[in-house]
Symmetry: C2
DNA sequence: CCTAACTTGGCACCCGGTGTCAAGAATGAC
DNA sequence: GTCATTCTTGACACCGGGTGCCAAGTTAGG
């Protein structure tokens, strides 16, 4: 069966490299499914589009669709996880003597740039999230994963020594910064994408706590 | 049909009073369904319990269950909305010259007390949310409704005059405070309910911004 | 008591998601 | 090139949450 000892170590859930060709084709199929799906969603709405339709439009069966994505939501929000990791990485890369709040602001520069560079795509996605409650809920859950990725780096910043197991502060800081980012997104969406994402985020975050030391 | 003109005004979605008796029995049935459902969920898990089981245990059909609750999640998270309104009301009741951040802290006193007064029930609920991703997602979505209830009152505090349509600050403040509350809940849960909710919330919020003027 | 309004259960149905299986295609060893 | 192993695929059945519909029962109120 699966998950057995293999060359001396056990692997779980992740297939080991799986031959670069197969991995590439898999990526390609995933990409096309995303394109096809997003096109259908944009045209006739997320809820009004069945998984079967997407699969059919991509030339496969519903059953095969679920071999490429864990769920319908995954098709839309699959990237979120990796973006969160990038943000956490950016936070880790900030100078150690920088206070948490400005460091968090800088860590979000990456996603700000991403929105600035492709505002149309971002607008479509945000609009879809906004009028699809189930999708919004799912995204909030994935966002709350971002928090957990940020926590360890904040923890190091707050208490350089040792572990304080029941300290709410790193979680609070990460969550607060995330809330500012979400407020930014909402306001930017309400403005139809005309306002500057970076300036909005500056406004939002400095309304909660001062950004400059 | 429904939703027609009736005595001169149109009503939408809400039945007008619907005879106090029927309303009372309806409340009673909802209450019993909640009790029965929560008991089953606590015993055998949320996902492992079907709506049919809950309905059966309460002596009714699945179809009727969905006449009392919009969804399975609604059985668990139905109260959330009204709690959010209470918090918003508490915020509105704070003195007008109090800065937003301490005012938000005080607005949460209500829910802090609620957790303090029934820690067992709170623990059970939090644990259930924590190991049921779908439920967690749904709760985050409902929490984001709290934000919107808080926004108008914060808006009044920030800019006493007129409307600034594209101001991210009220949303950011409300979201940040909520994030502190959620961090508090998470930490309290991790401590097995031993720590003081009020002190944790003080810690969390003052890590983000100073609470005392 | 009688009628109009509401409630109920049962049924069929939709959709997202999963287990299973048999057939087909690619891979890799010889 | 052959052959066995492995991966991929589609089809089918199934589950559970959720809804539309309808016929029968219950209640409210004149």
């Amino acid at each position: 069966m699966r998950c057995q000892i293999w060359h001396g170590y056990t692997w779980r859930m992740t297939k080991p490299a799986a031959s670069p060709l197969r991995e590439r084709t898999r990526r390609a199929v995933r990409g096309e499914l995303m394109d096809v799906g997003m096109a259908l969603f944009a045209r006739q709405g997320y809820d009004a589009t069945t998984v079967e339709e997407v699969a059919q439009a991509a030339g496969m069966s519903k059953r095969s669709f679920f071999r490429y994505f864990d769920s319908k939501e995954d098709l839309v929000l699959g990237n979120q996880e990796s973006i969160g990791e990038e943000v956490a990485q950016a936070l880790a890369g900030r100078p150690a003597d920088e206070p948490p709040w400005p460091a968090l602001r800088r860590a979000f520069d990456l996603v700000v740039e991403r929105m600035d560079s492709a505002p149309d795509r971002a607008l479509i996605l945000l609009r879809m999230l906004n009028d699809t409650p189930g999708l919004m809920a799912s995204q909030l859950a994935r966002r709350s994963r971002w928090r957990e990725l940020l926590v360890p780096h904040l923890h190091a910043r707050l208490t350089p020594e040792g572990a304080s197991p029941h300290d709410p502060r790193p979680l609070a800081l990460a969550g607060a910064a995330l809330a500012c980012y979400e407020a930014t997104q909402a306001t930017w969406l309400a403005s139809g994408g005309t306002l500057s994402v970076g300036l909005l985020l500056d406004d939002a975050m400095s309304a909660v706590a001062p950004l400059e030391t």
